[in-house]
């Protein structure tokens, strides 16, 4: 498979001790009262994460929109962390915009995107929705996938072989791929 980039996220976000890895709490814990609330100043990405992602984002060509779905009552804490992470990622390139929606209130948009879980992220291109979704906070290995999906949506150049590309062009039916993953 062609190398998607010079920088190996696998190594960077493999969850090893000492590696840079967005730190998020796991599990649907009860939200703990915090002075900062939505404007909590604590950041998820480290400086090292930011530098690495910024370098990756130098390859961006087209604009990318990250549409986030949250729902306070279902998973408030996870959704807030997810929103924070997405905003921090978007800050690293002026080609990325963010829209935060509510699964319960923005039902039409959720139906249009086919989103029925939170937290969710839709990675949408300037001209098209390619059907890329993330359910859950993309940390660890999934974080590298999120960054990779932003790059491939932006460039419109999938790193696939000619054989794969030509086979995909002849698909006669829709293909829904679910990938179950874990943070590390």
């Amino acid at each position: 498979m062609p190398d998607a980039g010079g920088w190996d996220f696998r190594k960077m976000w493999s969850g090893r001790a000492g590696s840079c890895c967005p730190r998020v709490q796991q599990g649907r814990a009860e939200p703990t009262p915090r002075a900062g609330g939505y404007n909590d100043a604590m950041s998820i990405l480290t400086e090292r994460d930011r530098a690495a992602v910024r370098k990756e984002f130098e390859r961006l060509t087209g604009t990318v929109k990250l549409v986030v779905f949250s729902q306070e009552l279902l998973a408030g804490d996870l959704c807030r962390q997810n929103e924070t992470l997405v905003r921090e990622v978007a800050e690293l390139s002026d080609k990325i915009t963010v829209e935060i929606l509510n699964l319960a209130l923005d039902r039409e948009r959720a139906a249009k995107y086919g989103v029925d879980q939170v937290p969710a992220i839709v990675v949408e291109g300037a001209d098209a929705d390619h059907g890329i979704r993330f359910y859950g906070i993309p940390s660890g290995y999934e974080f590298s996938n999120l960054i990779d999906s932003i790059v491939v949506v932006s460039t419109g150049e999938p790193a696939l072989s000619e054989e794969t590309l030509s086979a995909l062009r002849t698909l006669a039916a829709d293909v829904d791929i679910k990938v179950f993953s874990t943070p590390t």
Partner: protein, 70 residues
């Protein structure tokens, strides 16, 4: 699993949903997720672990060429 999202960009027919298994235990149970990464295509072709691009494509084609038994 980058192949799924790259395929989604390559074809309008393909959509890719990455699910954080520990945050969605019910969904993971419904799809009998025992190990990760686990890939489920059109709810009928599934495999665990990273596979070469060729095999991933094979699974995609298998999922669309044989209609789901009714």
């Amino acid at each position: 699993m980058r192949l799924a999202q790259h395929m989604a960009v390559a074809s309008d027919r393909v959509r890719s949903t990455t699910i954080e298994a520990t945050e969605f235990p019910e969904l993971s149970r419904a799809y009998h997720v025992m190990g990760v990464p686990k890939v489920v295509i059109n709810d009928r072709v599934q495999f665990e672990g990273a596979v070469p691009e060729k095999d991933f494509l094979g699974a995609v084609l298998q999922a669309v060429t044989h209609p789901r038994p009714r």
